[in-house]
């Protein structure tokens, strides 16, 4: 019934009342709040804090890697799957990239290409186990989550750190190009490409069909296994890209790179309105989700109150968790209200 109602609405109205629009509103409100409450003047009379352009660029730089992972995870979750291994794969790719360049004597571009191949292969391993053996993605990627991180530690003995990358490479993570942080020029096109894939191509429709009902999709003649393999391989390749950006931003590659990133990324995807059960979700929602979390984290660190409490890190974790719960509840609220109303009316009649 809800669907027909939606169909009768004009397009702009659907867009305006969509979850993503609501989230965007939250993001804007959040941004404005921090802009006014988190911008101050320091002793030297310079405007500092959240409102500065530098800070906005820092937010962009700091959210590139998690943003990439989250965007790549969106199609995975839309198909009803999940990939817990992306953070570990980021670590593995980072040290392999370092190893190719430092120990293998390869040039940076060759090392990057080889790292992307590794990322694809690792994603392919997940895909093979999930599609060929029809194993649950949660379990497969829980295994590769340990395996990839374990390999990274085994290769470096945990100890080796690759540093002293050429400055032309570090430019990618630390400098600005044409007004934007350099890594944004890599991340944004990837984001747009995945958006096109999900929202402007038939692939996206098939992802949703698979997430809605894998068997139904199979009977409808969709190449379910190939489509599923595609989303996991994309997740692998994008993790490798994130690994390279991470390495360039920090100027070092080490086996602990990206620890815990999978949880941040999944949080952003879910906050962005993608259903963890699959079937629905949008890439732009994910991007807004990433931005909402990044702005929250950064903004809190600028609030004088929070600064005095010395609790920016804890509080941003706390509020991210709370925000997620509120968003989830908001998502089901209409359903619950109508349920309660139905029950109330029933109760009144009898």
């Amino acid at each position: 019934m809800a669907a027909t109602e939606q169909a009768r609405r004009p397009a702009w109205k659907t867009l305006l009342f969509s979850y993503e629009a609501l989230l965007l509103l939250v993001l804007v409100a959040e941004w404005l709040f921090f802009y006014f409450a988190g911008t101050t003047m320091n002793r030297r009379g310079v405007v500092v804090g959240f409102g500065t352009l530098d800070r906005q660029f820092d937010i962009l730089r700091h959210s590139c890697e998690i943003g990439l992972l989250a965007v790549a995870l969106t199609p995975v979750i839309i198909t009803g799957g999940i990939d817990l291994s992306v953070g570990s794969l980021l670590g593995l790719c980072a040290i392999l990239f370092g190893k190719f360049w430092h120990d293998g004597g390869l040039t940076i571009p060759t090392a990057i290409a080889l790292t992307l191949v590794i990322g694809a292969a690792a994603g392919g391993l997940n895909a093979a186990l999930i599609t060929a053996l029809r194993l649950p993605p949660l379990i497969v990627t829980l295994g590769t989550y340990s395996l990839f991180r374990g390999l990274a530690e085994a290769i470096t003995h945990g100890a080796i750190t690759y540093t002293n990358f050429p400055s032309a490479f570090l430019f990618l993570g630390q400098e600005r190009w044409l007004g934007l942080p350099a890594q944004a020029w890599v991340s944004l096109p990837i984001g747009v490409a995945i958006w096109m894939l999900v929202h402007r191509m038939t692939f996206g429709r098939s992802f949703r069909a698979i997430g809605f009902s894998p068997d139904g999709a199979r009977y409808a003649g969709l190449p379910v296994n190939r489509r599923l393999a595609l989303v996991y391989v994309i997740a692998g390749v994008v993790s490798a890209v994130a690994a390279i950006i991470y390495t360039a931003r920090l100027g070092q590659a080490k086996a602990d790179a990206g620890t815990g990133y999978e949880l941040f990324a999944i949080t952003a995807v879910v906050l962005g309105g993608t259903s963890i059960f699959g079937g629905t979700g949008t890439v732009h929602g994910t991007m807004i989700g990433v931005a909402a979390i990044a702005v929250l984290k950064n903004g809190l660190a600028c609030l004088p109150v929070v600064m005095r409490m010395n609790a920016a890190e804890e509080m941003s974790g706390l509020l991210t968790g709370a925000l997620l719960l509120v968003a989830l509840t908001a998502g089901v609220l209409p359903k619950i209200i109508s349920e309660l109303r139905a029950r109330f009316h029933l109760g009144a009649k009898t």
């Binding site: 310079v46 409102g51 080490k254």
Partner: protein, 328 residues
């Protein structure tokens, strides 16, 4: 839009600034201090000292860090402080090279940088408040171990995590001292504990049963020392296997008195925080310059400076005779 936002914001900023100025918080010098990780007893104690110094000097202290060791997060926090326009940044680096990138940027913006606890690259900071060099720590631990074992026998190390940079430095120096000075001693295993006491205990239990000739357990992460001690106690090997390590007196008092742990090595972490704040503020006010030979730090008196290292003093060995005199 372009001309609108700055104008409105400038008005609002002025308004807010006047509000804040009423609280007079804005006129204070701001010193931001980055621990390797928040929420462990070591840095909690450092913060205690830093708070005291900040009160005495009338500066605002920001103390923030990752909730668990995370090199990338350290960078992000420093970059946040840069746009926050703090006056001084004091860091304990999880990872030298990574953090130095952000600190050089801070220096370019006129922010003074010092390091404490774990140094960064020398060009990324003005001074290092040196509580003990990795060599000093590694050698002191190894010497103490050798003394307790009469310079012969097997021993094992429990570290924080395999990837923690400072642990690796210490381990390297322990191995160096071992190779050059104690040929009759043998390092049989190095096991990680992830800074979790319970895990350290499990690892120590396995080490004890796998190595019946083990004479000593050395825990170089502070939660590891009580974990190892509890394992030795539960295995009924008190006296037979000795426990030493880097740790805080309070966490280890019980085991030292019971005779399970022989000695704990550490510097005065409270003083470390205190001295760091004094040095940072002196640097920002221009009272501390390159080439100075000493610095005065409030109630603690003067400290020697060698080149760009401010020396806190030698690491301290706590044992049964003196551990009760310390409370941190």
């Amino acid at each position: 839009m372009k001309s609108f936002l700055p104008r409105v914001s400038a008005l609002l900023v002025l308004f807010l600034a006047s509000l804040v100025a009423a609280g007079a918080a804005d006129s204070k010098l701001v010193l931001a201090m980055l621990p390797k990780a928040k929420g462990n007893a070591y840095f909690l104690s450092v913060k205690g000292g830093a708070d005291k110094a900040a009160r005495e000097l009338g500066v605002q202290l920001l103390f923030d860090g990752p909730t668990d060791t995370d090199a990338a997060k350290q960078n992000e926090i420093v970059e946040n402080w840069i746009t926050l326009g703090v006056d001084v940044i004091a860091v304990a680096a999880e990872n030298k090279e990574g953090l130095s990138t952000a600190l050089r940027k801070a220096q370019k913006q006129g922010i003074k940088v010092i390091s404490y606890d774990a140094d960064v690259m020398p060009d990324a900071r003005s001074f290092f408040v040196n509580q003990a060099t990795p060599q000093g720590i590694g050698f002191a631990l190894m010497d103490e171990a050798a003394r307790l074992c009469n310079e012969e026998g097997e021993f094992a190390i429990i570290t924080a995590s395999l990837t923690a940079a400072n642990q690796q430095e210490w381990e390297k120096n322990i191995r160096k001292r071992l190779a050059t000075k104690y040929p009759k001693m043998k390092l049989v295993a190095v096991r990680p504990s992830d800074d979790i006491k319970d895990k350290a205990q499990s690892e120590a239990t396995a080490l004890l049963s796998a190595n019946p000739n083990l004479k000593l357990l050395m825990a170089i992460s502070s939660p590891g020392v009580p974990g190892a001690a509890e394992a030795v106690k539960q295995a009924g090997k008190v006296g037979q296997v000795k426990v030493i390590g880097l740790g805080l007196p309070n966490e280890n008092k019980r085991y030292v008195h019971e005779g399970v742990t022989d000695s704990v090595i550490l510097w005065n972490t409270d003083h470390l925080g205190y001295l760091t704040v004094y040095a940072g503020v002196a640097l920002a006010k221009g009272e501390l310059k390159k080439g100075d030979k000493e610095i005065k730090a409030g109630s603690l008196g003067t400290f020697e400076i060698i080149e760009d290292n401010i020396l806190l003093g030698k690491p301290f060995i706590f044992n049964k005779s003196n551990i009760d005199q310390f409370d941190f």
